[in-house]
Symmetry: C2
Subunit: 439 residues, 2 copies
């Protein structure tokens, strides 16, 4: 390899990840040059405001507000601005100009991945995005390459560190959701506006990306059903523990076979899930992420680590960059996306799983019969029922565990329960991690 | 991509892994063709005895004893024979003929990796070996590509399922080593001759491979120090638990910096290790494998799954094959090995860690003073000492935990202790997992 060769790297964005990428590119340039077979020269950093305060001290002459010009002079473009605009336009420009692009932008990929991959393939450029899911955890490349010869059945991910931190505190410290969120915000785990995390939008985008790769099928983010953690109460956490479970916000991507027709489809969804306490995902604490993959031949695999953080995410970005540069220097193209399976996507109401439904009911005879009747009418089979009198008297708490039922049947049942005279309130519905859905 | 294109695949070996690879290549040929952009045609399977019984029913016309001829007609050669000869000669022939090679042969790589990589680079062929370490667990590619832009500090691996199964049973079932080994043999976890596993030779080869990749440095297997599990007693397991530890056979690969000169070096070793019970590696049960990687930017990462098994290992082999074929069809070369850091390797006696030393001593006054004097003379600092009278009376058990000391000092100390009149016997020495060695 010819180490006197240089490749030009443009960086878009200098936030918490971007500033760490720039620092490491400058500090580790010797090591990277040896590994890539070429010097990786950081030719500039495009930002909105050249004079803004940065986490890291970087040479001021690198900064520019002219992103287009920077891109057109680069072999590699690293996009770390986040958001859709102007990231979409700039990544499009970079690919169209023949530059390879490394990005950590999950929103961009979840919403515009297919069109970007098409541009990349047309011009022979590469789009790398290991950092978009799971921060520092290797998951995109293992799914695309290591498991390329296997049949992935299911991907279960704790892919949002903020919500895992909040739920973990609710279990370990017995905090309420509000207290836990406040502490997460104080410690910098949650942003000032936590909506994207706690309502599950962030996990939804990551689920779309994971499902697309795992099942070789375009899974638009709009087809991923989503429920955040804002409905989770301290009581539900306590109930979960009593039942030997832990509540986790999971991104669930499954291959589903219709038992009648044998037709395969894909389901991707995000919701709080009761995970058995002895499942490896149950012991993922704090702000960590983990992705659990079940394949036909490999069996269960788990990938665990820091799911966010500037320097951690920078590791994934630089792994893509050094690998890409090595390939670039060696002269060959990389890997196209393989979306050839093109499976149908399961409608959310067709997904089946087990549920745990908590009800506030009147403390009087005949209530269980009334409730059980509703379950029977909606074709949802009761597996367990546990009734306890509330401490303030006058009403009782009824927790019902179901056998497998479809989401559609569940929704109708919940509505019917809410209208049942003996039921004061449906206080919670949780889905239970099972052996995979069979819609 | 042109799916009418065909690449020819030769398979060497039809044992537990090879027969599963052949089966999946035949069964999944449609899916693989879509993903790779070319049909992967299994053109033949070279075996010693065409008529031997196989795990899987395969077309008899595929079998041949003429491996050389099969290789010379193939684009890809999958070597799953194991052992050094004739695997070395056949892989050399395959690479020299320009074929890409996929292998799961850890012995071959640990002993002859550098010469094979050199041949591959010279002719522009690729050598893939994801299956050589950790079975189905993606670890080679994550280390080579995902972490290519990071600085790996330490790799800790439970890389041998047989010994993990045995040690796990000793903890959970309170079995002796002999009982546990017998059950492992009955269940097929251990081979009839278990030497390679229980004496740590298998883990030693894997440690050499992991250290070479992690530190971009050739680490010959002969430089990897090795201690198996045959010395582990039920008493040590009980002591470990009392101290909040679990005994695991670890492959430890570390970057070490001399505090005086600042010179970096590499240490790779295999030995039973006291792992804190709350460390992620402590909860790796049964025959599973896990690899824990600590990097400067990414922080701790863990990769977990089935470390062995025919079909599981086949998943890793086929992942390499499909990725390689995709790259082959796209027309470009793959990745050369990067051994450019070329760090020195730490001599075993220079490695420092903490130790736990168990002694049978006379039950009389002044014993602790005599023993402590030996520690002081050998410059090994005592952190904890716990003495208990043996149930059969007449002697006592003294367990001493040390601060960090070099392996060289430890060995001399142990010899001196054995010659100390108050010491009846040195019953065990265990190394304690710490924050990394600083030789």
């Amino acid at each position: 390899m010819n180490e006197s060769r240089t490749v030009k790297v443009a960086l878009l964005g200098a936030g918490s990840v971007g500033s760490q990428v720039a620092r490491l590119l400058l500090e580790q340039s010797e090591a990277f040059a040896q590994r890539a077979g070429a010097r990786l020269e950081l030719v500039g950093i495009a930002v909105r405001n050249v004079d803004a305060a940065r986490d890291v001290d970087l040479p001021t002459e690198l900064f520019t507000t002219d992103a287009e010009r920077l891109i057109l002079g680069a072999d590699f473009v690293i996009e770390l601005m986040g958001g859709i605009h102007p990231a979409l336009e700039l990544v499009t420009l970079a690919l169209a100009s023949g530059a390879d692009v490394v990005t950590a932008n999950k929103a961009l990929l979840a919403h515009h991945g297919p069109e970007l991959f098409e541009i990349a393939e047309r011009v022979g450029a590469q789009l790398y995005y290991e950092a978009a899911v799971g921060g520092a955890i290797p998951i995109i490349r293992p799914l695309r390459e290591n498991l390329a010869g296997d049949r992935i059945e299911r991907v279960l991910g704790i892919v949002n560190g903020t919500t895992n931190y909040i739920l973990d505190r609710m279990h370990t410290e017995k905090d309420t959701l509000e207290e836990s969120l406040r502490i997460a915000t104080d410690l910098g785990y949650a942003e000032a506006d936590p909506t994207a995390d706690i309502e599950g939008f962030d996990a939804q985008q990551k689920a779309a990306i994971l499902a697309s790769i795992a099942f070789h099928t375009e899974v638009p983010v709009t087809t991923v059903s989503r429920e955040g953690i804002t409905g989770i109460s301290a009581g539900q956490i306590a109930d979960a523990e009593r039942g030997g479970h832990v509540v986790k916000l999971l991104a669930i991507c499954e291959r589903v076979t219709d038992p009648d027709t044998g037709i395969e489809a894909v389901s991707a969804r995000v919701h709080p899930t009761l995970v058995p306490a002895d499942h490896p995902l149950a012991s993922v604490h704090g702000g960590n992420n983990a992705i659990f993959v079940e394949s036909a031949a490999a069996g269960p695999l788990m990938f665990y680590g820091a799911g966010a953080g500037g320097v951690q995410t920078a590791s994934a970005v630089l792994g893509d960059l050094v690998s890409a540069a090595r390939r670039h220097v060696a002269g060959g193209p990389g890997l196209g996306e393989s979306m050839d399976a093109d499976l149908p996507i399961v409608a959310p109401e067709q997904v089946s799983t087990r549920y745990q439904i908590a009800l506030d009911v009147a403390d009087e005879p005949g209530v269980l019969a009334q409730v059980a009747q509703q379950f029977a009418e909606h074709n949802v089979s009761v597996a367990t029922a546990e009734q306890s009198v509330a401490t303030d008297g006058g009403h009782a708490v009824l927790v019902i565990g179901t056998h497998t039922a479809t989401e559609g049947a569940l929704q109708q049942l919940v509505q019917a329960l809410a209208e049942t005279s003996a039921v004061k309130r449906v206080t919670g519905v949780l889905r239970v991690l099972g052996e995979g859905v069979r819609a």
